[in-house]
Symmetry: C2
C-alpha cells in the first residue's frame, strides 16, 4: 500500500500551487474519508466497530484512510481504537450542517421523481 498525502503548498489535485483548500478537498474526496470522520464523531471506535458503522467499507481501504487521516492529524489512535483529534473534531463541526442540507436535498430529489 502506498500512502500519498496532499500537502498544502505543494501541487495537489486542483491546484498546482497547492492552495490549502484544494489540498483538503483532495484528501476529503478520497472514498470514505468523510464517512469515517462522520462515524468517529460519536466517539471512540475500534477498527471492527468502525468497519461495521461504515457498513460496506473494505478493511483495505479503511486501513489506508485511517493511516492518511492520522498523518494529517485528523484522527488518532487510543487504547480503545480510533478517535478524532481536536482538529478532526473541528473539521467534523464543519461537516455537521451537511446532514440537514442533505435531508432537505433528499426531499427535493424525492419530489422531483414524483
Amino acid at each position: 500500500m502506498m500512502i500519498n498525502i496532499p500537502i498544502p503548498g505543494s501541487p495537489v489535485r486542483g491546484s498546482k500551487s497547492g492552495k490549502p483548500v484544494m489540498a483538503l478537498f483532495d484528501l476529503l474526496c478520497r472514498r470514505w474519508s468523510m464517512g469515517i470522520i462522520w462515524n468517529l464523531s460519536e466517539g471512540e471506535l475500534t477498527f471492527r466497530e468502525l468497519q461495521k458503522k461504515c457498513e460496506t467499507i473494505s478493511p483495505t481501504i479503511l486501513n489506508t484512510r485511517l493511516k492518511e487521516l492520522k498523518l494529517v492529524n485528523f484522527v488518532q489512535t487510543s487504547d480503545q481504537g480510533y478517535k478524532l483529534t481536536e482538529l478532526g473534531t473541528e473539521l467534523f463541526n464543519l461537516l455537521k450542517p451537511f446532514k440537514n442540507f442533505a435531508i432537505n436535498w433528499g426531499s427535493l430529489i424525492y419530489r422531483k421523481g414524483e
Copy 2:
C-alpha cells in the same frame, strides 16, 4: 459514459438505507465534485474556463461531474456556460468555511515538518 447518482433513501456507499448525508458524501467524494462547486461559486463559467480553473481536470471527468451535478440540481446550464443553482450555492456556503480551516491546517502541517 455511465451516470450513476446516489439517491437518498436508496442504498449508497456508506449506508444501505441511503441516509441522506451518506448519499451526499457519496456524491461529493467523487473526484473534482467539490472543486467544481468551489470554482463555480465565483460566477458563471464556460466549459473551457472551468477546465482552466480546475487546472488539471480532464475533459472527460469534467463532463461526467457536470452531468451528475446537474442531475442532482447543484449546477445548471445557462447561456454563458455553467453556474450553481440556488441549492448549489447553499452547498457552497457550507463549503466556504473549509478555506480558513484548510489554511490553518496547512500551517500546522508545515510546522510539523520543521
